[in-house]
Amino acid sequence: MDATTTVIAERVDYAARADMSRRNLWSGILFGIGVVAFIDETVFHQILHWHHFYDLSTPDVGLVSDGFFHALSWFATIGGLFLLADLRRRRAFWQRRWWGGVLLGAGTFQLYDGTIHHKVLGIHEIRYVPDLLPYDLTWNLLALALVAAGIALTILTRRSSIPAR
């Protein structure tokens, strides 16, 4: 163990970290949802203009779900980071579990967006081209990979123990 890792390890209060295990996961999940929503808005809506602000075929229930997740994404990003700050001040931040949460939140939200929003509720498509299949497959397979990685990290960190020296 090199000097830096030792210093960081000593800054962790393992009892607090075990107490705050769920808060670590939730902080990550919220931040993950926020990051995906942010990428969706900046890259796909604003820069590429692939997504449309409002697809004229959107049914009302689609508008409700879209509105809710749009509001939630702001909340999730900001709230997730404040939770992270709280964990750090308690010396209870658990990096691996937090990242597990980020992957889980990001993957789940992307999967929801790619299946329920785009396909079931028909809010808008990924891109307005004749052959959508490659886009849909890339989108949703990437989402599944993120979810899988998130589940793996969450299982790996399900118990908090003081690392053996």
Binding site: F53, Y54, L56, T58, L63, V64, D66, G67, F68, H70, A71, L72, W74, F75, I78, G79, F82, A85, D86, R89, R90
Partner: protein, 265 residues
Amino acid sequence: MHDHAPAAGLDLVLALPFALALVAYAVGVMLQRQRGRRWPWFRSAAWTAGVVVAAAGFVGPLGTDAHAGFVLHMWAHLMVGMVAPLLLLAGAPVTLALRSLHVDTARRLSRMLSSWPARVLTAPVPAAVLNVGGLWVLYSTPLFEAMQQNMLLHLVVMSHFLIAGYLFTAAIIPVDPAPHRAGYLTRAVVLLLALTAHGILAKSIYARAPLGVDVIEARSGAMLMFYAGDIVDAIIIVTLCAQWYRHGGRMLRRASATKPVADAA
């Protein structure tokens, strides 16, 4: 259409309450200074800016032209209903009033603030319904078309924007003493739902223009409502989270301050 000729005289009358708000606040701040109590400069700055922003929706070019187009009307809504309340709240007017007024008057004010009507109006759910519900009624009924043609109705709607906006902001992120403030989770959930309703309303205006509004203009106004609303919402969310974070910090310090005593006993 109403005619714009007597605008100068009317502007003067409309500006009066805003001028009074500035003067009353300034008197309060001067009283504090006289008594040797500090009053943070940023509170005075926020109040002044808030009054100016609110007044801009009633008096002058924006106030008059907001009749003319939907996009300008949306600017007026954002300024009067969202930005001004946030700034006015940051001015902590109730705190200043309680400190500056004569003891008996201050007691009466504080009793009034804890009376049941005041408690209902400043609770998150009723304040959110008044605020966002009012917008839904305005844009999905003929009310919007009517307010664009009737000066008095226009003023009533603008006043509603300001008052309901202030009550909502104060219910979610209280700055002044609020004896019955709701818990953080309630406030967060109500804010989340209110933001959802605001976003849905913006998109439904995009889809179906309000009566008397041209489609292209309705779409520009809807997108302005959606994205500019987002910026104000982000400020409210950050403030709510910061209040939670500071509250948690106080709890932690209190816990660590009492711990050694408990251990010794």
